[in-house]
Amino acid sequence: MINFGFSISKPRAIDIDRNNLRKSNEIMREMPELQACIGCGTCTATCTAGNLTEFNFRKVHTLVRRGEYQGAYEEMNKCMLCGKCRLLCPRGINTRGVVMLIKRKLGDF
């Protein structure tokens, strides 16, 4: 086929019907307190790694919860486990535990 230099982009939408939520459900079962997240962004605002890299903890864990696992492990590797987010979380979520859990569950993604 002749290559005209055009291609079709993959859809960007999160497709809940197609995503496999098995891992996501496992994560939520093991760390139910993550359900209490209100997306305030305090964790990301204080994040040491986030100040130096593009790491956004709130966004990554939200994506994982929607079944979007691609790249989550690599992203979570940017976390330095300093724990400032855990000190500040208004819902008392063990955010460091969330990082470790996602890394453990999604190591093969």
Partner: protein, 336 residues
């Protein structure tokens, strides 16, 4: 004995009349429906305590029945209101010494938000419809069967200038969380997703209920407003929204969509303004004399307000305000 006409027999009107009678003033309630109770009559349970609405109504009915100086007139509408006289649509005139307007609000008509398909697609219902289903004890899909995935959409007809409703209706967020919990109790295996712009949990026990919905019932909250709904080939509903917390568009199929419809000002409020020289707010709700010290008073001496005629309120606020309005009316009558 002084005599006050209370226009509207919802919870505010009922409470107001019973307080007036308790203060030694005769009250006449004018209700346009055939029964007292107003909007609460169609509600199943009240947030955040899950108190049956009927429990509140029967307590109020009892208070009214205990007072010999309360007269209830159902099936009649006020046509013209002045502090000393209320004229009914039937032409009947009622003499009085003061008037309390407790005419409440109108539910937003979800058909106006055509993109959500209310009245067009099956299984798109409003929060009010869902309460009626709870009252009947049956929540089914249109063609039978249980819903496996349910979406609840906040702010339908609220905070939306496209439908001329810029105000926040205040109670829908709390209702949405309450209904999510009730649906999870009914269908533990179903997934419930609440799509919200903001979650406004302003009252005691509300935030706690929200957290319970998240942690105990595993209700999913997605910050993003559904842009459109379309039917799928297998008779489900396809939703589109932005998951604003991840910055990505999101789509999903659901079996049922619940629209949390807001509180709209009554059309009648504009008539009140033109007829009786009362003032309207830009939202269409009545403007009290003063937002802090004259919340239950109008611009005209002898005309008072109680409940949602002046702004969206929950049942508790309406009930409290009804007592305040009754007492303002009594104080005004005594000083005259």
């Amino acid at each position: 004995m002084k005599h006050v006409v209370v226009i509207g027999g919802g919870v505010a009107g009922m409470q107001c009349a019973s307080e007036l009678a308790r203060q030694g003033v005769a009250a006449t309630i004018l209700e346009k429906e055939s029964d007292l109770g107003g909007k609460v009559r169609n509600w199943h349970k009240l947030f955040p305590t899950f108190t049956p609405a009927e429990e509140l109504l029967s307590a109020l009915r009892l208070r009214i029945a205990e007072q010999p100086h309360i007269k209830v007139m159902t099936g009649c509408e006020a046509e013209n209101i002045s502090p000393r006289k209320v004229v009914l649509k039937s032409g009947e005139e009622i003499e009085c010494d003061a008037v309390v307007i407790a005419t409440g609000y109108t539910l937003f008509d979800a058909r106006i938000k055509e993109e959500y398909g209310y009245g067009i697609y099956d299984n798109v219902i409003t929060s009010a419809d869902l309460e009626q289903m709870f009252n009947r004890g049956e929540v089914f899909l249109t063609h039978g069967g249980k819903p496996r995935r349910i979406a609840i959409l906040h702010c339908v007809g609220s905070r939306d200038e496209k439908v001329c409703q810029r105000h926040c209706s205040k109670v829908c967020c709390v209702t949405g969380v309450k209904q999510a919990i009730e649906l999870k109790q009914m269908f533990p295996d179903a997934d419930v997703f609440n799509f919200y712009m903001d979650i406004r949990m302003f009252g005691p026990g509300y935030e706690e209920m929200y957290r319970e919905a998240q942690q105990k019932y595993n209700v999913h909250f997605v910050r993003g407003r559904i842009s459109e709904v379309s039917p799928t080939i297998d008779n489900r509903l396809q939703l589109k929204a932005e998951d604003t917390l991840t910055g990505r568009p999101l789509k999903m199929g659901v079996d049922m969509l619940v629209l949390l419809i807001g509180m709209k000002a009554n059309d009648m409020n504009a008539e009140l303004e033109s007829q009786s020289n009362l003032r309207l707010q830009p939202s269409g709700f009545m403007q009290p004399r003063d937002s802090f010290l004259g919340n239950t008073e109008s611009q005209i001496g002898g005309i008072f307000y109680a409940g949602t005629v002046t702004s969206p309120k929950n049942a508790r606020e309406s009930l409290n305000e009804a007592v305040a309005a009754a007492r303002s009316a009594v104080a005004w009558l005594n000083n005259k």
